[in-house]
């Protein structure tokens, strides 16, 4: 089933900005992704604030492995596979909670919150005391690490350390939330299912070309809260948009797209990327932007990063939003992706501001989100049209701005400035192809190091 590397190279053309539609629906490609991406990459599991007390657990996912992330008695955090060492039953069925131990309900093996096998019914009588309990605990995730409260795991013991894996781009992506204060996750992780390929969902987070049309109805109907001048957003006038011809679509407000919509795209090693407005762009929007003026934020983000206000994706599937949320895209099948929304707020923020943030998050994204409702429709249909033999012969086009993107390197970041483009998406696909070849880590890093132009 393994695809030859030459075959993989044909699926993504960085030069032409073209993607073979097979990558969205071919089951063999999906299986290879499970091995070569999801069993190797550092994946976001949860935030430490979700499991404050010893025994607190949150059930997460790495590829198709179910993972228990558990706070330990010494306050450290462990992540282990939720599968019994005896004959594989899940040892925990709740999504989250607090446990004193994990009891397998099949034959009764019981594990400590650290995963150690403590009890085996009939250990003396049936096993004659010969089963070595120390060898049959819950399997620990190969590496677990915490970046400013964000917990990640990788199945690959030889993967570079998390901070190195994230690199300047990934760290900036997380700092764009982490540096807003003493962050905690608001209870309630929204989870829902979209019948789309995970890459179409990831591609879309960088896409600043779609909001004016996809989200036209939301922009017309007062979705954004009005709290002060700079944050008003409010209603965008769509009256001059001729929906029939669709040609020369330019919003009067010029907000979300148009000639004043300056963007900065950051391209990182291993496929991390950030795409969207800069803080001086007409499209810059943040409910509470004051955090950017703090010395800690300036120091952590650096002179380039402090002006980045777009959407980071930590390769492969962790989107950090400007609305202080993390949206995880969990591949279940080639045409089925689970979306998980984590919402973060500063513990010290005034109640009123906290409420505004939560209300905004609840209404904009998520299944009922005034924006996201209409996204799912596109992703599902775009995925469905990759299955027809004739439709599949057509490529996905990611050529916007291609060949004109000058890459500036500064402060460890590679960036392209300009108007709306498709560089970040294309970079993600290019990196995807390098991952899919199963390259050793150093070669993978080289193959995903940006050049001078794109």
């Amino acid at each position: 089933m393994a695809l030859a590397n030459g075959e993989i190279d044909k699926l993504v053309s960085l030069e032409r900005g073209e993607i073979d539609r097979r990558i969205y629906s071919d089951p063999a490609i999906f299986e290879l992704e499970m091995e070569r991406i999801f069993a190797r990459a550092w994946l976001f599991l949860c935030h430490e604030s979700q499991i404050p007390e010893p025994g607190d657990f949150f059930q997460s996912v790495m590829g198709r492995d179910n993972i228990l992330v558990v706070r330990q008695k010494d306050r450290s955090i462990k992540a282990m596979l939720n599968t019994c060492a005896h004959r594989g039953n899940a040892v925990c069925r709740a999504e989250e909670g607090n446990a004193r131990s994990f009891l397998c309900t099949y034959h009764g093996w019981s594990y400590g919150i650290d995963g150690r096998l403590n009890g085996v019914p009939g250990h003396g009588t049936f096993y004659n005391g010969q089963l070595d309990k120390s060898r049959h605990g819950l399997a620990q995730v190969a590496q677990v690490a915490n970046y400013k409260g964000f917990i990640f795991g990788t199945h690959d013991a030889s993967a570079p350390p998390l901070e190195e894996y994230l690199g300047a781009t990934g760290r900036l992506g997380l700092d764009l939330i982490a540096m807003r204060g003493d962050m905690e996750v608001v209870p309630g992780i929204q989870k829902f299912v979209i019948e789309c390929n995970w890459k179409i969902a990831v591609d879309n987070l960088f896409d600043w070309y779609h909001p004016q049309i996809t989200h036209a109805s939301a922009f017309e109907s007062n979705v954004l809260p009005r709290v002060g001048e700079r944050r008003d957003g409010g209603k965008i006038d769509m009256s001059d948009v001729n929906m029939q011809s669709g040609a020369n679509l330019e919003l009067a407000a010029g907000g979300i797209i148009g000639s004043k919509f300056e963007t900065v795209v950051v391209l990182g090693e291993y496929g991390h990327a950030i795409g969207g407005p800069s803080t001086s762009s007409s499209g810059y929007f943040e409910l509470f932007p004051e955090w950017r003026d703090t010395p800690q934020a300036k120091a952590a983000l650096g002179p380039v990063g402090i002006n980045v206000a777009g959407h980071p994706n930590l390769f492969p599937t962790t989107w950090v939003t400007t609305g202080q949320q993390i949206s995880l895209r969990i591949p279940r099948e080639p045409g089925r992706t689970e979306i998980w929304w984590f919402t973060l707020v500063d513990r010290n923020m005034p109640r009123e501001s906290r409420d505004i943030l939560i209300s905004f998050a609840n209404r904009i994204f998520g299944a009922a989100g005034l924006l996201e409702q209409d996204d799912g429709e596109n992703w599902a249909q775009a995925t469905a049209q990759t299955r027809g033999v004739a439709s599949r012969r057509m490529k996905h086009l990611l050529g916007m701005g291609l060949g004109r993107g000058r890459i500036k390197k500064e402060g460890g970041l590679s960036r392209i400035e300009g108007l709306t483009s498709e560089y970040a998406q294309l970079w993600t696909y290019h990196s995807w192809a390098q991952w899919m070849k199963g390259l050793p880590w150093d070669e993978l890093k080289n193959a995903t190091t940006p050049g001078d132009c794109m």
């Binding site: 209870p187 989870k191 109805s217």
Partner: protein, 181 residues
């Protein structure tokens, strides 16, 4: 001949039955508005200070079932004031709400209506619902759950002052919630 007490109690039972019937009728009319996509008329059933809330539900052990649903102030699928509900209705009216254009086909079935409390001015009412939806060629969604409403008497009818919607799902098994419950 029934004595006075018996007559009184049978009067109050008849009154309660009539009231229950009115509440049911109110819900059936509401469901008919939604299924006919008459959203503005539907919105008019809500009081100005109404709260419309669908919490997130989580699979938890029996021991922690009190933490199954999120609460106001936490994350939710819906947590709307009436003004925010109005924005949703306005969105549907733009002609560019693609998730509902072509519109989904829905049927709201309302059952098991029970008046839990009635102080003369406000009623607390629980009911079960089945919202069946199909969309486009083959998308099919079935949501079953319960609602807990606070209804205010308003002339001959009622106003919805508070609605809590509890779905029998944790991971939402659909791509969006572009309909009302």
């Amino acid at each position: 001949m029934p004595n006075d007490n018996e007559a009184r109690s049978s009067d109050s039972r008849i009154a309660a039955m009539l009231r229950d019937r009115e509440v049911e009728r109110f819900y059936y009319d509401e469901a008919a508005l939604l299924d006919a996509h008459r959203y503005e008329e539907w919105l008019a059933l809500f009081a100005d200070d109404a709260h419309y809330f669908m919490p997130i539900r989580r699979t938890r052990t029996q021991r922690e079932l009190d933490k199954e649903f999120t609460r106001p102030g936490e994350m939710a699928f819906f947590d709307d004031t009436r003004e925010q509900l109005a924005a949703r209705v306005a969105k549907l009216k733009t002609g560019r709400a693609w998730a509902e254009d072509p519109p989904s086909r829905t049927r709201h079935l309302i059952t098991n209506v029970r008046v839990i409390r009635d102080d003369g001015r406000t009623l607390e009412v629980e009911c079960n619902f089945h919202l069946y939806r199909t969309r486009l060629h083959s998308e099919e969604t079935s949501w079953i759950g319960s609602r807990r409403d606070v209804l205010r008497r308003a002339g001959e009818s009622f106003q919805i002052a508070d609605r809590k919607i509890f779905l029998e799902q944790t991971v939402l098994l659909s791509r969006n919630l572009s309909n009302f419950f």
